[in-house]
Structure formats: structure tokens, C-alpha cells
């Protein structure tokens, strides 16, 4: 902020950060729902999707939100009303807390947390509590089973996710997301610095494991057992209606966007472009226009990654519960441990 011609007071910065956070969560969520859920899924199923509201159905999202806001907020008679009401808020809150550490430009960050990666992984596990108590407080066997399945799945896939990130941290030599971005845009591949070194090249195994774990953390098909409609109606969300269901719905796609932001920071070079193109040496040399261009670059990378997540979601059938657990514990975790060992050895060797 010091590079600006005028100084923004502390309360102004705080207000800007809160507004920025809301935009960084809700704008990707809306775009993802329209582009992928409405249009891409329709295309893959040989239909048009929503066409009536606005040109090409682009206002459909507002119509849906209006519909959900009008619906009655039903609470089952035997439910634990207070916790039933709080549960969706916990889930959405964890998404907002998650976006706080994502850097969008050389100065365009919410907080420059030292252990940013660690923070993101820790906060990502808080939403489990919201999902668990949502299932429990509904006083419904389907909901409880869905909540328990979700918790088991999120715990199992949290581990490979953390372990996949360790490889990136070893290579970048920092847990700070900003420094991970700088590392990817200043490192050289055998003396050639035309493209920097996005870690998707050197950490491809880690990238694959991370994206699979993200797919499972978001409970998107083929990992959607917690809301398996043929077995559990819709799992922990069965009893929810009206705007509380809407909060779960927004939370699902907003979290997809934020995890894709984090993945693009860790593996695709984040907001940066290779610094050698413009002769920048460190992050302090980067021109101010990157604060405008950075969010755009991040948004493009986010759309690419969410596109892959959604493509997989619409293409593959659901795993069985035991296959899911076996896949996490017997395949992903050993591979990611091996990845850490190999990365560490190569880091010392070079």
C-alpha cells in the first residue's frame, strides 16, 4: 500500500480487505456455478441448460438465489434448533477464513501470513465440524450417516493434501504463499529462465495428489458419498431448505474456487509472470500494474483448475465407501511420502 500516491488509513484498509475478501469468495462461486454447473454440464449432456433468464440464461443465478431466499426456513421438530442454524455458517465461515492468505499481486494480499500454507491447510479442516454437527443436529438417520461419511472422508484426504504440499514447501524453501509465488517466477530450469519454474513441472506427482485430495475435500463426484443421493437422499443437507441450503450450496462452490486459488499459487505460479520478462529481480521490483493484472491471472488459473475438477465430476461414477478409504490410505499417502523423500534428496543434491 505504500507505493500508492496517498495513504489509506487503517480503517480504510480494513474495509477494503473485507470487501475484497467477499468479492474473492462470491465472484468465483457465481462464475463457477454459471459456467460449469449450468452450461458445461448441459453441454456434456447434449442440452442447452437455462436459457430464459437474461441472454443465454446469465441471470439464472440471481433467479435461483431469489427462489431460495423466499422459501421457508424449515427446522425439523426434533432437531437441535440452535446448532442446526449455526452449522451452515461454520462451513461458509471457514471458506472466508481460507481466502485470507491467498496473494493476488505484489501488494494485493489480505494478510501476508508467515506460515500461509500451514494456515490454509489448518483452516480447511474446520469446515468438517460444521458438516458433522449439521448431520447430527438434523435428527435424521440419513443426515447423521452423511455427516459421519463426510468427516471420515475429509480426515482421510487431509493427510495426502498436507503431504503433497510439503514437497512444494521444500522446493520453495518457505511456507509463505507470497514467497512460493516469487520462487516459482525467479527459479531457473537448468539456467534457462524464460518460463520461471512453475512447480507443476517439478512437483507433478504432488500436483496430481493435491488435486485428487481437493476433489475429495470438496465432496465432488467421484468422491460424493456424503451426499450420495441414491443411498442417503442428500446426506447431511437432507433437512436443510431455504437460505440455509443456499449457504451450503454457495459454500461448496466458493470452497472449490478458493482451493483452486491455493492450488494455482502452489503449483502454477500464482499471480506472477516470469520476472525475467520485464527484468525484475525481486518482489520489490515488480511494477504496480501487476496489482491489477495479478487478480486477473489468478482468476484465469482458478477457472482452469475448477474446469478440470468439474470435468472429472461430470464424467466419473461414484466410488464405494471402502474403495475411497483404501485409495487414500494405501495409495495416496505412500506415494506422497515417497514424493517428499525424493524431493528432499534432490533438493540436497542440487
Amino acid at each position: 500500500m505504500s507505493t500508492l500516491a496517498f495513504e489509506i488509513p487503517y480503517w480504510g484498509q480494513s474495509l477494503l480487505r473485507v470487501l475484497g475478501g467477499i468479492v474473492a469468495v462470491l465472484l468465483p462461486a457465481g462464475t463457477i456455478v454459471y459456467v460449469f454447473l449450468f452450461k458445461m454440464m448441459s453441454f456434456m449432456q447434449s442440452r442447452l441448460g437455462p436459457m430464459e433468464a437474461g441472454p443465454y440464461g446469465s441471470m439464472q443465478l440471481l433467479a435461483e438465489v431469489g427462489k431460495w431466499m423466499q422459501k421457508e426456513d424449515l427446522i425439523p421438530e426434533n432437531a437441535d434448533a440452535k446448532i442446526y442454524k449455526i452449522a451452515p455458517v461454520i462451513v461458509l465461515l471457514s471458506t472466508f477464513l481460507l481466502v485470507v492468505v491467498v496473494p493476488f499481486g505484489p501488494d494485493a494480499w489480505f494478510t501476508n501470513f508467515q506460515a500461509g500454507v500451514f494456515y490454509a491447510l489448518a483452516i480447511g479442516s474446520v469446515s468438517v465440524i460444521g458438516i458433522l454437527v449439521a448431520g447430527w443436529s438434523s435428527a435424521n438417520k440419513y443426515s447423521l450417516l452423511g455427516g459421519l461419511r463426510a468427516a471420515g472422508q475429509l480426515i482421510a484426504y487431509e493427510l495426502p493434501m498436507v503431504l503433497a504440499v510439503v514437497g512444494v514447501v521444500i522446493q520453495a524453501g518457505s511456507m509463505n504463499l507470497q514467497q512460493i509465488v516469487v520462487a516459482q517466477n525467479t527459479f531457473e530450469i537448468f539456467g534457462w529462465n524464460g518460463l520461471g519454474m512453475p512447480f507443476v513441472v517439478t512437483q507433478f506427482v504432488g500436483f496430481l495428489i493435491f488435486m485428487i485430495a481437493v476433489q475429495a475435500e470438496l465432496t465432488q463426484a467421484p468422491f460424493d458419498m456424503p451426499i450420495a443421493e441414491s443411498e442417503l437422499v442428500s446426506g447431511y443437507m437432507t433437512e436443510y431448505s431455504g437460505f440455509r441450503f443456499l449457504i451450503f450450496f454457495i459454500g461448496e462452490f466458493a470452497t472449490a474456487g478458493v482451493f483452486a486459488f491455493i492450488a494455482s499459487v502452489l503449483f502454477l505460479g500464482g499471480w506472477g509472470i516470469p520476472f525475467s520478462w520485464f527484468g525484475w529481480e525481486t518482489v520489490d521490483d515488480v511494477d504496480d500494474w501487476m496489482n491489477i493484472a495479478g487478480p486477473g491471472i489468478m482468476f484465469a488459473k482458478m477457472m482452469l483448475l475448477v474446469g478440470i475438477i468439474m470435468w472429472v465430476r461430470f464424467s466419473y461414477p461414484r466410488f464405494r465407501e471402502d474403495q475411497l478409504q483404501r485409495f487414500a490410505w494405501k495409495v495416496l499417502i505412500p506415494i506422497s511420502l515417497l514424493n517428499i523423500a525424493v524431493t528432499a534428496i534432490l533438493k540436497v543434491a542440487f
Binding site: N78, A79, D80, I83, F113, Q114, A115, F118, Y119, L121, A122, I123, S125, V126, V128, I129, L132, V133, G135, W136, S137, A139, L144, G147, L148, A151, G152, I155, E158, M175
Partner: protein
């Protein structure tokens, strides 16, 4: 302006905003802790415990110990409390109030709790003395994530490895107990 005035009357080194936040969070934590033991529902007790543990993490952040705060969230809220809730919901998690939740010997707990409070209070006061919370920027320079890792992979390597053996033994024990067939 008023904050600056307040800090000048209290003494220049006291960070007012930090102190106010400390007492607000501490009040929430104390209330949460009381509710953990007085509530009539197991799941509610567990959720109040989440509030208390989250408050501890917030206090760590106020003290500029970011890494410890994040560890607190990851280990206690993300792992221990989720496991607690998971276990409670798999076994007995009735909605509404349970009447037989109070342990009959709860009176014995009072002197134990009082003794713990005395010991902890003495240790804290004895260690800190008249020191005030350090300025946040100063603390950030002093304790970095790097210095923590240098610490436990350097000076404290032996206790670190010993601890990981304890965890390994616990993990093997759990597997042996769970696989009865």
C-alpha cells in the same frame, strides 16, 4: 486518538487494542469453559470446547505467535475435536438433555482445579513478572517459523525424536487393539 491517550496514561509500552482484545477473548473462553462442564448435552459440551480451543488460538495470534496458533487450530480443532465429535456420534449422541451426565464425584474436582489454578498462576506470574506484551513487529522479527524449525531440528532434536517414538508406539498400540481377529 482516545487509544493513544489511554496508552499514555497507562504507560507507553502497553498496547491498548491488544489488551482489550485479550480480555474480550478471555471472557468468551471462561464462559465457554464453564459451559463445557455444565451443559446437559455431550455434543454441546464438545462444541463449547471448540470455542475454548479457538480462543486459545486467537490469544496466540494476539501474542504474535502465528505458527503456534495455526498448530493449535490444526491439531486441536481440526483433528482432536473432530475425532471427539466423530466418536460421540458413532456411540451415543442423543438430541436434547441427558440427565446422568454429571459424575457423582464432581466435588473432588474442585480442590484439584483450585490447586491447578494456584500452580499455573504462580508459574506465570513468577516467569513474566513486570514484563508487558512485546510490540507485535518486534516479536515477528524475533520468532519466525524458520527459527522454530531450526530449534527442533537442531538443539531439541533428541526430545523431538523421542516424542515421535511415543507417537509411533501409540499408533501401533491402537492398530493392535483395533485388529482383534
Amino acid at each position: 486518538m482516545s487509544a493513544a491517550l489511554l496508552s499514555s496514561t497507562l504507560g507507553a509500552d502497553v498496547n491498548v487494542a491488544q489488551n482489550v482484545a485479550f480480555y474480550i477473548i478471555a471472557a468468551v473462553m471462561v464462559w465457554g469453559a464453564i459451559r463445557v462442564v455444565t451443559t446437559n448435552n455431550v455434543v454441546h459440551g464438545a462444541l463449547w470446547l471448540v470455542v475454548v480451543l479457538g480462543g486459545i488460538a486467537a490469544q496466540y495470534i494476539l501474542a504474535a505467535a502465528e505458527f503456534v496458533a495455526v498448530s493449535q487450530v490444526l491439531v486441536y480443532i481440526g483433528a482432536v475435536m473432530v475425532l471427539f465429535l466423530f466418536g460421540i456420534m458413532l456411540t451415543r449422541a442423543t438430541i436434547g438433555s441427558d440427565t446422568d451426565l454429571n459424575n457423582k464425584g464432581w466435588g473432588i474436582g474442585i480442590p484439584v482445579a483450585a490447586a491447578m489454578l494456584g500452580v499455573l498462576g504462580y508459574v506465570v506470574l513468577d516467569y513474566v513478572g513486570d514484563d508487558v506484551l512485546v510490540d507485535q513487529d518486534e516479536a515477528r522479527i524475533a520468532i519466525t517459523t524458520q527459527s522454530i524449525s531450526d530449534g527442533y531440528l537442531g538443539d531439541y532434536l533428541v526430545p523431538f525424536i523421542a516424542l515421535s517414538f511415543v507417537l509411533l508406539a501409540a499408533a501401533i498400540g491402537a492398530i493392535v487393539l483395533a485388529r482383534k481377529d
